[in-house]
Every structure is written in C-alpha cells, then in structure tokens.
C-alpha cells in the first residue's frame, strides 16, 4: 500500500510537471507594459485633477483629498456604465491598483448583488474587497504609528 501511494504521488508530480511545462504562459511583458501605461494614465488624470484644485488656491496637500474623491467618482461611474471591467481586462493591475480600481472593487459587487436586497446584498457586498484593504491598512497604520511612537518618542 505504501509503495503504491508513493508511486501514485510520483505519478501526480510528473503530471503536474508536465502540465506546468505545457501550460500557455501568461504574457508577462505585454501585461507589464499595459499595466504601466494604464496605471500611468490613470495617475496622470489624477495629477490633472489635483492641478485643477491647486489652481483654485489649494496647496498640493490640501488638493489630494478632493482629488481622491473625484477619482473614486470616476471609478464608480465607469463601473456603473460597465466600462471599468475592460480597463482592468487590458490594464490588469494598472486598472486595479489605482484608487479608481478600488472604487470599482466596491461598486461592482454592490451593483451585482442588488438582487439579494439592499441590506444583505448591496450593503454587505460593498466591503467584499474593501473590507480586507481597510482592515489591514488600518492595522498597518496602527502598528507603524505605534512603533514610531515607541522608537522615536514622537509620532
């Protein structure tokens, strides 16, 4: 029985190795280039929006929160129109990493689960992806802040 099991797992490993060799590769370079251009473009739009707010008297730092809100709005709108999934399909993380992608990650599940009602569907699903991001982002900020306080005595 034991040697059968060993033969079995050897056969499985050989199969997985064969499959790994034969599998069509993800186009790494193409994906990276697309991510660069789409991510860069979205960042550029953000920069433009920020510059617009700065033209109205805000400093760079003050202009960042309203720029964030605008970008979130853009991501939400493009998701609602059904276009943002195409941005990510081609741009990959170039579409998912920017804050527009984060908006997409909140809005898409909310839209999708409307059939399950406003509370358990829309309400709960808003945080499917946003939940972990907030949970661990806040945790990291807390830990880093605490360490800075303990190590340097200041914030």
């Amino acid at each position: 029985m034991a040697s059968q099991a060993k033969q079995g797992s050897q056969k499985m490993q050989e199969y997985q190795d064969m499959a790994n060799q034969m599998r069509p590769r993800k186009p790494l370079l193409k994906n990276a280039l697309w991510a660069f251009f789409v991510g860069g473009l979205i960042s550029e739009v953000g920069q433009g929006v920020q510059w617009f707010f700065m033209q109205h008297g805000l400093s760079a730092k003050e202009a960042t929160p309203p720029m964030t809100v605008v970008m979130i709005g853009i991501g939400a709108l493009l998701t609602g129109l059904g276009w943002y999934d195409r941005v990510v399909k081609h741009g990959g993380m170039g579409g998912s990493l920017p804050i527009t992608g984060f908006a997409n990650a909140m809005v898409a599940p909310a839209m999708e689960f409307r059939t399950e009602g406003l509370v358990l569907g829309v309400g709960a699903k808003l945080f499917t992806v946003a939940g972990p991001v907030l949970a661990y982002g806040l945790a990291a900020a807390f830990v880093v802040g605490l360490l800075r306080l303990l190590i340097t005595g200041v914030a």
Partner: protein, 341 residues
Amino acid sequence: MAVIRLGPSTYQFENIRILAAAAVGGPKEGQGPLGAYFDSIWSSELKDHASFEVAERHLLLEAQDLAVKKSAVPWESIDMVMGGDLLDQLASTNFAGREHQRPLLGLFAACAVFTEALGLGAMAIAGGGPRNVLAAAASHHMAAERQFRFPIELGYQRAPTAAWTATAAGACLVSGSDAVTGEGGVSVESVTFGRVVDWGSKDPNDMGTAMAPAAYDTICRHFEDTGRSIEDYDQIYTGDLGVFGVRLLSALAQKDGKHWDERLDDCGRALYAIDKQDVHNGGSGAGCSASVFSGFIYNRLLKKDLQRVLLVATGALFSPTTYQQGESIPSIAHAVSVRRL
C-alpha cells in the same frame, strides 16, 4: 430489458433510445460555430428575468420543454426528470421541478452532471423502472461567476487557461423500446460511471489540468470494461477540458502508448470560436456538454455523420470554501456511449 454489468464501472443496455433532444443557449453561444444547432438562442443573458439565477432556471425549463414537445410524449407521461446545475442546492433544477411537477432526481457532479443523468436514466429504464427519463443540465455564465469567482463588473484579468462558463442548457428524453417506433434513431448503449480523481491541481483558473486525469481514468476504464478501443468510436467528446485540457489528455494517452488525437474533441472547445470570442480555454459548465450534445452531436448522429460517440463530461468537484481552505481540486468524469442505429 436488462442491465448488464460489463465491469467495475460500466453498465450496458439494449433498446434504450433518445427520442428527442433540445439545446438552448445565450447570445455568445449563438454567435459561436455551433449556433445553428441550438433550438433557441436568447437575445440577452437576462431576458427580462429578475436575476441571473432566475434566468438559468428558465433556460433549463425551455430546453426541457422543447425536448418533451419534440418527443410527442406528453409532460404528464414523463416518468422522471434527472439532472443538475452548478448553483448552490441545485436551485435551477429544483425550481424548474416546481414548474414541471414530475418526479425529480437532482444530481450534482459539477460540469459532469449531464452524462451522469443520461447514464443513470438509461440504466433505470433498462432495469425495468421508469418508461422514460428526461435528462437535462444547465449553466449560466453570470450566475456561475457570482457564485464561484467574481461579480461581473469587477475588473479582473482572465488567465490563458481560464474557461468561460456557458449560458446554455440541454435536455434529452430517453426511453425504452416500447415507446419507440420505426427507423432506428440514437441509442444509449452503455455508461461508465467515473470515480473521484485528484492529482493535486490547485488552480481554479486552470480546470483543464484538474480534470484531464479524471477523463483519462474514465475513458481507460470504459475501454477496459467494454473491451473496445478508440477505433470503435468516431469521436470522443470530452465535456469541458478545453484547448489546454485536451492537449493534456492527449499527452497522458501518449505516455501510455495510445494515440487519441484524431478522434478526440471537446464540447467546450467546439462551442466557441476560440480565437474570436475571447473565451481563452473554451466553454465550461454543466450546460456546455448538455447543449453541445443535445444540439450539435445528436443532430450529427441523426444525419449519420457520426455513427458512435463517447460523451465524457468532466466536472471539477471543488467549492469556494474548499479552495479557500487550501484544498486541491478533485474531479470526476462520467462517460456515455451513444450509437446511431
């Protein structure tokens, strides 16, 4: 009527016919190379239904209803309905059952359920039970994505090995010889029921790798039990191994000195125009093998383009929970031998 046990996994029957078959599909399926073989193509994925889940049950009902109508057997005389789908608790199959009110045997084998139903139904009739069985399966792209992967509008990149769950349903009315008249038709000869095969695949974006070993296991057992080889079949159609899975199946066969390439095809690969319809590995879903068989393959058998076919639907038996718990993906394949008389 009798059921003959040919071997550990295979049962043979005489005089079990498919009286009628029907296939219903969504817009993408209609645009594919097999579009003309569907009895009905929906103009949209939702077709004014309240949700994608509700749409799926109507897809199934439509296929079932068309098959029953074509057979000229009235619904009240349908002894049993067997079949399944991909949704939790077999929602589509059960809610369709609420409509048709026939004795219902819901089955789950992921995307392998159609051949499980076809084989089990044929065996039940041959064993002297029901006079006829309606075997059916359905899947819906949007409903499957909601349950298994992502909400639709959430952007994500699909891997080259990812499959596209088909929005499709297929139904066959199987009957014993008493109800059959005249000139031949298509018979269900035998069924080889698969066992669970798990060779350690863990990537749900590459089902072909997970399922090919199960298909190989079942096909080999079928040949062993029946004493046949691939030359006895015009075609072996796997369910949804897709472009990559078929290559792996072929490679597994080659390793054992068998050459299956020329007679090996796949419902998921055939359903879409792979290079034009952006489906990567090809179609998948319980409705994929069901609709491709009930439309395309069944028609070709009737026209005598094909004489004998082995339909090997394949299913990946994982759930979002097992995946998140780090388990690999066990698979199963059930094979049905179908012949033009």
